[in-house]
Symmetry: C2
Subunit: 240 residues, 2 copies
Amino acid sequence: MHNELWQRPSVYLTVDLVILTLRAGELRVLLVERGTEPHEGALALPGGFLNHTEEDIAMAARRELREETNLDLSSLYLEQLGTYGIPGRDPRGRVVSVAYLAIAPELPDPTAGTDAAKASWRPAGAVLDDRLPVAFDHRDIIVDGVARARSKLEHTALATAFCDVTFTIAELQQVYEAVWGVSLDPRNFYRKVQQVPGFIVATGSERRQPRGRPARLFRAGGQTVLSPPLTRPDHTDEEA
Amino acid sequence: MHNELWQRPSVYLTVDLVILTLRAGELRVLLVERGTEPHEGALALPGGFLNHTEEDIAMAARRELREETNLDLSSLYLEQLGTYGIPGRDPRGRVVSVAYLAIAPELPDPTAGTDAAKASWRPAGAVLDDRLPVAFDHRDIIVDGVARARSKLEHTALATAFCDVTFTIAELQQVYEAVWGVSLDPRNFYRKVQQVPGFIVATGSERRQPRGRPARLFRAGGQTVLSPPLTRPDHTDEEA
DNA sequence: CGAATAGTGTCTATAAGACATTATACT
DNA sequence: AGTATAATGTCTTATAGACACTATTCG
């Protein structure tokens, strides 16, 4: 099989996951406390090496998602984010990591007493601000992941991936506000998201709140690209 | 160095380049005729293996760009596109390829008699339509590259990377028309691009054409993200 | 002058943003 | 009734798209 490749350089391949969710109205990222060197005890993205040479990369990402977290995979959004391979990023050798971005609805804390016991949801803002240090080049990866999510919120239906199967428009608005870090007018938001064809569809049922008028429930409309897009209030920052 | 990695699976890493340009008002991609097996004689993206285990991936992309083509690297746009690693994509073994997207202004044909003699600019549309077959999974990569370029034209200044240092607004419009595959109103386009702050700036000089009024020359304004974006006429197709 | 291309002006339909108002629940 | 939240309506201003017109070159 490897007949003609005998003198080519090879690298070790890992998969890292940037799993974003909303908790307490705040954007959070799943981090695990490392149990082995290097960076033992430090926080890092969940991930790991390919299981064997023939394992597919996307499959490995789904496997890690299952192993390192107790999340329900079925309805989880997953896309490739980028590949990080600067020499020296891992002291053990030439390790190249393919990062994936996953979006999860609000879920219970990772169950204690399992493989995922050392996993916890940390504020993404703290990592971006460098108040919460993370191992390897994982801050770079998280920066890219959050930027990707912010951008995709504008012209795709990614926001629905942060929500449960059914959700209210107010909940959807919280997603936009938390990820973009802005506050939006509820009336204009309500009108806007409804007039984007295929973005969300009403289920017909309602959700009763502790107080106030019950809210109509919606679910994702199946359309992935939004036109017109939801424009984000001026952002004199970051890339595309 | 590799002390703890001895039993991890490793993969061979290559870099592939999707180099796009405009020729004869048409979007084209640089393809090379393969000189060795597998797929000898077939068309494929320029690219190749890492030189040595410690070579940086982005550096390898630039090196391949230099080696396989005679392009002037200085003013060339380059970004990572994605990583393609499905087992079986390369019959020689587990080869994972990191694809890069490059955008070049209109240039002379790759010089005959050099390393790049077997390289030629092929219509991207023919590859997308499957009229022009390419080796490996390179069609998938080209599809993703063109989609990325189409999308980035909307909200970044990527279009200027298709142009020379100075260009006319009509030339810039040709970029949008060729990449998007639409035709645009010159008057509205002219007004629109000029009112996006930092997109293009007038140089003060003009270019005399064979006939007609001389056109003002512009250069890229340094702004990478466009707000407001240039909206593409309805596209009931592809992803984001 | 006429042809060709560049650049400007104007009008209209539509969308965005600010904000008032009505509706429906709970205590 | 009073309060809290959801949903709808209205107004103003900005933008998008269609298209008429003026400007500058060449032959």
